[in-house]
């Protein structure tokens, strides 16, 4: 298990024990984190699981693949730390990861 934290837009913190190999989006849905909609169910076919990776974690999490970057065009208020949480796979080196939920999804 890897500990990750999702911070809702209102500041509420959700500390989650996430299984390695699962996606950050799946953990958000399982724990009813508000603001993560994941309309397409994780197919990288919408942009409704958009998160901002905490500045301290951007290097470890890495940058989006071209397809995800394309999908991010549809998200609201995209920033350099933006990712789609369905495309971030939980792994041991992300223990302690913090992501922030934006004000709204597209």
């Amino acid at each position: 298990m890897t500990k990750i934290t999702l911070v809702a837009f209102d500041g509420t913190r959700f500390d989650v024990d996430a299984e390695n190999g699962s996606t950050v989006m799946e953990n958000a849905i399982r724990n009813s984190v508000p603001g993560i909609e994941a309309e397409c169910g994780g197919a990288c076919a919408c942009a409704t699981c958009h998160v901002y990776v905490d500045d301290a974690w951007t290097d470890k999490v890495g940058t989006p693949e071209p397809m995800e970057e394309d999908m991010l065009d549809f998200a609201y208020d995209v920033r350099p730390t933006s990712r789609l949480s369905c495309q971030i796979k939980v792994r041991s080196e992300l223990d302690g990861l913090v992501v922030h939920v934006p004000e709204r999804q597209a």
């Binding site: 397409c40 197919a43 970057e69 991010l72 065009d73 208020d77 995209v78 597209a106």
Partner: protein, 341 residues
Amino acid sequence: MSTPIETDVVIIGAGPVGLFAVFELGLYDLKCHLIDILDRPGGQCAELYPEKPIYDIPAWPEISGQALVDRLMEQISPFKPEFHFNRMVSGFRKLDNGRFEVETDEGELLHCHAVVIAAGGGSFQPKRPPVPGIEVYEGTSVFYSVRRMEEFRGKDLLIVGGGDSALDWTLNLQPVAKSVTLVHRRPDFRAAPDSVNKMFAMREEGKINFQVGQVTGLKGEDGQLSAAMVKGPDGDIDIACDRMLPFFGLTMKLGPIADWGLNQHENLIAVDTEKFETSIPGVFAIGDINWYPGKLKLILSGFHEAALMTQAAARLARPDTKMVFQYTTSSTSLQKKLGVQ
């Protein structure tokens, strides 16, 4: 108003489940017309994930969305379904003779014994971009499609997006509009490389403007747009414009079907699990659009629902014919219908 098309069944939605319904209904000699808002069959499989593999179609360990659609089209071809693409269903009523009338937004009328709603997540419609207050300008200054290019003649046009629609309209409307500014959040595009190259060449020639950034707000009065606020890499700027064309992809909405008076459950259509019939007898709902206890939104569930729906629809359409259950493997009459005998 056109002369009504007379048929057995009207299927709303030409996604995988709507297509397979043609097969099941066809085995019982029921002729189908399908209506879809997209310009081709396949629904979400074709629009959202044509290249992506699906792993839970029985006997297909892996098949792409588009390949599944192609196979279904091949499978139903003996039944010669008729497609009405680029259409949305706009009207629905029960006729005095017990049949139904379905109307499309292009004014076509279809008369049928049964209506099958296989509309998945709803009809694909342009997505409203996340710009606060944009609703005020819709239909006067902000448009999501180009019906007539002349409407943009002499206008200061702002086009937003990075896909083929945004690039194509930038290129096509440049000679018509007074000025064209393309705004996209990054210098890379999803659109065809050829269009992107042409756009950059036009910018070199000073024919269009291209600004990297995201639209954060709009300025204007009484629905008349005067400028868009854009957050770019060098800060916030205002771009003067009186027309805006945002291209932010498609989203799915239930649309006018929501007003048919069908019982609903959280925006889905409630059905029974024997016939997958809605609260209006003769109107069925199959696939992702329906709800019943235990519902799973899987393509294979939709296929099963299509088979059971067919039993009820066939009784309705052919009340005097005795229903005989047969297997395609052994029935010569079914094989004749399939064109393999």
